[in-house]
Symmetry: C2
Subunit: 176 residues, 2 copies
Amino acid sequence: MSKKWFVLRFTGLSWAWKTTLSNAVHKRLIESWITSIQQLDWDLVREHITKDLGFTKEDREENIRRISFIAWLLSKHGVGVIATFISPYQKMRDYVRSQTTNFIEVFVNAPLATCESRDVKGLYAKARSGEIKNFTWISDPYEAPSNPDLEVRTDLLSIDESVDLVINYLKTNSLI
Amino acid sequence: MSKKWFVLRFTGLSWAWKTTLSNAVHKRLIESWITSIQQLDWDLVREHITKDLGFTKEDREENIRRISFIAWLLSKHGVGVIATFISPYQKMRDYVRSQTTNFIEVFVNAPLATCESRDVKGLYAKARSGEIKNFTWISDPYEAPSNPDLEVRTDLLSIDESVDLVINYLKTNSLI
């Protein structure tokens, strides 16, 4: 089992397929017997440590700080972390980088129209009508990474090809 | 390195020497090459994930829930946890037990007078005068464990003897 650690940080819009990619990368790593991997996502942290937080800038920042602590704790003990969050602000992504070792910013990217077309839950429509507030890219900013460690265009690549990109990055950097 | 996991939960009054014992147990485990050990205490979690919380019963419960999640995450990946908190309510200690594997409730016990005599920061005096509110055992309840997995009387044993008790418990239960 690898005892290297890393924090793969998937950032991108809703329905850019961050979670889909995270699940697929996790599966590939587990199948390769790299078993010390923890996925962190909104639903998991929301249930346990951030249920007091909403979607204001301050709350999003506090959210990132708490996740960053958990990622630090896990990676300190040799657990690879895959963190899947919109994380719209560059400053906060840089904060997590400063707090962790082998932080990898992965920009999971697809055009807005593609993301909207995938949105079977109709979240974008609700955000456009104002039913959902503070929705990233519609009523809240998204600072796209200007210099990500890796960019994955999920509108141009299959999920398998996207996973290959991530896995190759980890291999090239001797992290697995 | 051991890949067993456990959550050692030290409960007891302020100045019962929970932290002293935690540090000493941690040191002994590290010296025995059992290196995947994480200490969790109030200062650490306060700095990172609970700074919005105070000392009301609700806040203490939320505090325990968040810590419990972290302990679960760590122990899931084979990291032994030593958690040092007053945790005055039995219900909440039982909650952590229900959320984690190999939970060990250690009652770090010393008479109140002994705890007060050790209190170089004068916290008990401030609690008695009302300067500090919600102070356990003075102005807030402490539900002593009725059936702890282990009781350590730090007024009767030396720190070394206390550590022996804890280490022997872990050995007897094949956790190290």
